[in-house]
């Protein structure tokens, strides 16, 4: 069974990111990648979150009731 993960090392990573120069994009990327390489639980969770979000983004959605008719009436006012 997977050990519970308290994200402690992830949270200290965030503190270190805040301390980085704000325009140092390569360094931000390197620090995050280094952490994910050394933390298999974070890496696995990141992978699952990515999968979840990608699936969510491709899922059909619907409009609130009545909105389609309101939009249509603005686009093509009924005679």
């Amino acid at each position: 069974m997977m050990d519970p993960h308290d994200h402690e090392s992830c949270r200290s990573l965030l503190a270190s990111l805040d301390a980085l120069a704000v325009d140092n994009v390569d360094e931000v990327e390197r620090v995050i990648a280094e952490h994910l390489d050394s933390c298999p639980i974070c890496a696995a969770e990141e992978g699952r979150l990515g999968e979840l979000i990608a699936t969510y983004s491709r899922t059909m959605t619907s409009l609130p009731p009545g909105l389609e008719a309101r939009l249509l009436n603005r686009l093509c006012p009924p005679d």
Binding site: M2, H5, H7, C10, R11, L14, L17, D18, L20, A21, V22, D23, N24, V25, E27, V28, E29, I32, E45, E46, R48, L49, E51, L52, I53, T55, Y56, S57, R58, T59, M60, T61, S62, L63, P64, L67, E68, A69, R70, L71, L72, R74, L75, C76
Partner: protein, 209 residues
């Protein structure tokens, strides 16, 4: 007589025919365009603003603008991507007006090149798919809406809309490093709020669909 909202989307399955109908302001063509694109565009506006009334205003403003300028559409991208860009720019304009600390620049005119080339809007030829359960979808949507504004805007533009880090940073008027750090913070927050799915076995997502 059938009502426009009962329209079979296959009537305007061909984009050229749909464009022709939109140029003539044909009510069925407008209905078809709304059915095909409006739901996803509405949710994009909602995720950026977190306000259903404002999301409706943005969608209305953007779609009317798009239809008024339909002759400017040159077919360099799909109609869906073109409408998408108009909604994104309109939403950023609204955010800039309402929350200038979130959108710190007025120079956010996203170009077609800023958006991913592949249009993920389902077409009539595709079967309507429910890829995740309604309950899971609502949970994810709420988790995204619960993110603080600074994190949510970066997350939506970068992860859901697929903009590059550079385009996301430019749209919000922040540095690329700041965009990356905010994105990482957003992902960490979502890992907490969606722990039931993210911490479980990999097939938890499929099982819940």
């Amino acid at each position: 007589m059938s009502k426009p909202w009962d329209l079979d989307l296959a009537v305007y399955g061909d984009e050229a025919a749909l464009l022709d109908g939109l140029r003539r302001k044909d009510r069925y063509a407008c209905t078809c365009m709304l059915k095909r694109y409006a739901p996803r565009l509405y949710h994009l506006a909602l995720q950026l603003t977190k306000d259903p009334d404002e999301a409706e205003d943005i969608l209305q403003e953007a779609i009317i603008r798009g239809c008024d300028r339909i002759d400017d559409f040159k077919g360099l991208s799909s109609l869906g991507t073109w409408l998408h860009r108009i909604v994104l720019n309109t939403a950023l304009m609204h955010l800039r007006r309402k929350k200038p600390d979130i959108v710190r620049t007025e120079d956010f005119d996203l170009t077609p090149a800023d958006l991913p080339a592949d249009d993920v809007t389902p077409t009539p030829s595709e079967p309507i798919r429910e890829l995740v359960s309604k309950e899971l979808r609502e949970e994810i949507e709420q988790a995204v809406l619960d993110l603080p504004d600074t994190l949510r805007t970066v997350f939506v533009l970068r992860e859901i809309e697929g903009l590059s880090t550079a385009a996301t940073a430019s749209a919000l008027g922040i540095t690329e490093s700041a965009a990356k750090v905010r994105l990482h913070r957003a992902r960490l927050a979502l890992r907490d709020s969606l722990a039931a799915y993210v911490n479980g076995p990999t097939d938890a997502i499929q099982e819940s669909a």
